[in-house]
Symmetry: C2
Subunit: 311 residues, 2 copies
């Protein structure tokens, strides 16, 4: 059983209620708390030492990551984060100076994004140190972007560059795309959006499955990071494979009407001149993912972290 099958099985046991607009299965839950011009966003996530950072990681950056991962999920809904809580699982004998640095980093990230950290909890934890973050925020009702609205014919876009995030350290220093996502949702009819944490090959299928559609990707259009290209030259996996499967990119993947593609690209270049935006393919009614390159068109397996051939 993989993670997503497990989650699906566990979620069957969990009740919802009338004020739940969106429950499990999107980047955030969406709640209707009786405020006419706001829907509220609720998200939780965790970083674990030995999984999301190591004993050698600068603890301030690990603290930033503990919050920034959740911020990226709020971004993927087009939302604004407001309040966080942090629970710390602390092994015996852990260096308290290091713990304090984690919180300094988390606090700096919170301040930068105007998020209040309104409390939390500490517990002892046999094994690894972990930080679990709960994040609350809001979104304007008409601008709340789900995973489920992509339509056949839509253009698929991705922000930034993909691959090599763990090697370059970008997984610790990425800037959640909050401003970009709010601009997108305010300026265009974004049909569906997701943040890329498991790699394009892992997360694109989530968006497509939620929307009941498939996609055709243009391999040459997928933006590959310099780190992934450098590593490929030195004999690592192909740059394209790294871009699709390395994960922890924390970029946005989204779908808009094909007719919005050109004005969107033009508007983006003016508004965010320092950040790449790439149209990587289109949404299809056939529920498969295919890759088109110089040699033709072939299927991409629908599971994340797939092993791919050189395009």
């Amino acid at each position: 059983m993989n993670e997503f099958e497990l989650i699906e099985r566990l979620c069957r046991h969990l009740p919802l209620n009338a004020s739940t607009v969106v429950g499990p299965g999107d980047d955030c839950a969406v709640l209707d708390l009786g405020v006419a011009d706001r829907r509220f966003l609720f998200k939780t996530d965790a970083v674990v030492e030995g999984v999301h950072f190591t004993a050698e990681t600068d603890p301030r950056l690990a603290g930033v990551k503990a919050l920034a991962r959740c911020l990226s999920d709020i971004a993927a809904m087009g939302g604004t984060p407001t309040h966080a809580l942090v629970t710390l699982g602390l092994p015996d004998g852990y260096d308290l100076g290091r713990v304090e640095s984690l919180y300094i980093g988390l606090g700096e990230c919170a301040r930068h994004h105007e998020v209040a950290v309104v409390g939390g909890e500490t517990t002892s934890s046999p094994g690894s140190l972990w930080l679990s973050t709960a994040l609350f925020g809001w979104v304007t009702p008409g601008r709340c972007v789900l995973r489920s609205g992509a339509r056949p014919g839509d253009a698929l876009f991705v922000t930034g560059e993909l691959g090599g995030s763990l090697a370059s350290g970008r997984h610790l220093s990425f800037e959640p795309r909050l401003e970009e996502a709010r601009w997108l949702a305010a300026t265009f009819a974004v049909h569906a959006m997701i943040d890329l944490s498991d790699g394009l090959a892992g997360d694109l299928p989530h968006l497509l499955k939620a929307s009941g559609v498939g996609a055709e990707l243009h391999s040459q259009a997928v933006p590959v990071s310099r780190t992934a290209r450098d590593r490929a030259r030195k004999g690592g996996r192909s740059a394209f494979e790294a871009a699709l499967t390395d994960g922890e990119d924390y970029e946005l993947l989204f779908a808009v009407s094909a007719s919005d593609a050109v004005p969107l690209m033009d508007g983006w270049k003016t508004r965010f001149p320092g950040t790449k935006l790439s149209c990587i393919g289109r949404v299809t009614s056939e529920t498969t993912v295919t890759i088109r390159d110089a040699r033709g068109r072939r299927n991409l397996a629908l599971h994340g972290y797939v092993h791919l051939q050189e395009p």
Copy 2:
């Protein structure tokens, strides 16, 4: 450095904002989200295998506890819980049937309290299994009870019976005092309230410190559980000591005006005839905790889990 000194040190690094009515240091954070007749409550907590339950614990009960601990904190504010998120830290090779049972228990508890579980996250976790729960709820503004409102002369009450919770298994099967707390806050001016998770000797000082007051307890009035009494007879710690320090009681401790004490006790007996309510002492302006018994009056150290003499 103990847990509370650590939390105080870590919280210095964390920003707040204008919509934060109450930040770290109470049972829940209180948020003003622009709804006139509601304040919102936000709480996070975790249960860790080997700390809050063991490999031998019925996993359904461990799942109940993961949510019920947070429910008890919502109760301590006089609130109503509405939405939860759950993050699971899963060690390699963990029995998935057992994980599913955790979620079945958590789901049953959520359904019982009309709480929607709107999502969550899973992560691998070297070491112990843990479940981190984030809980959201609301409270009527004038009925939100903090830790900080106790006044000299107030009567101190505690619900239920204290001590022996780990031995009796009550720490896994307690019923969060949500209904009782809402009734109290709706019917009387409750000046301060806290839920007892660290034992009366651990949590009373939190309420007193937040209120800038002290207390005098009447040792004979402290309600001791049958398990604690049985164990004391068999040569364990004294029943009084167990009641003050065992912890995990998840009962309510609260302060009301002395003039409300009798009507409150009368009203309680009618409304909750099956649940004990005890007036255990009074709030003092002197910021110490003293114990009064047949032999006179003596100081109780202000730290939790203190070792006590037989009263």
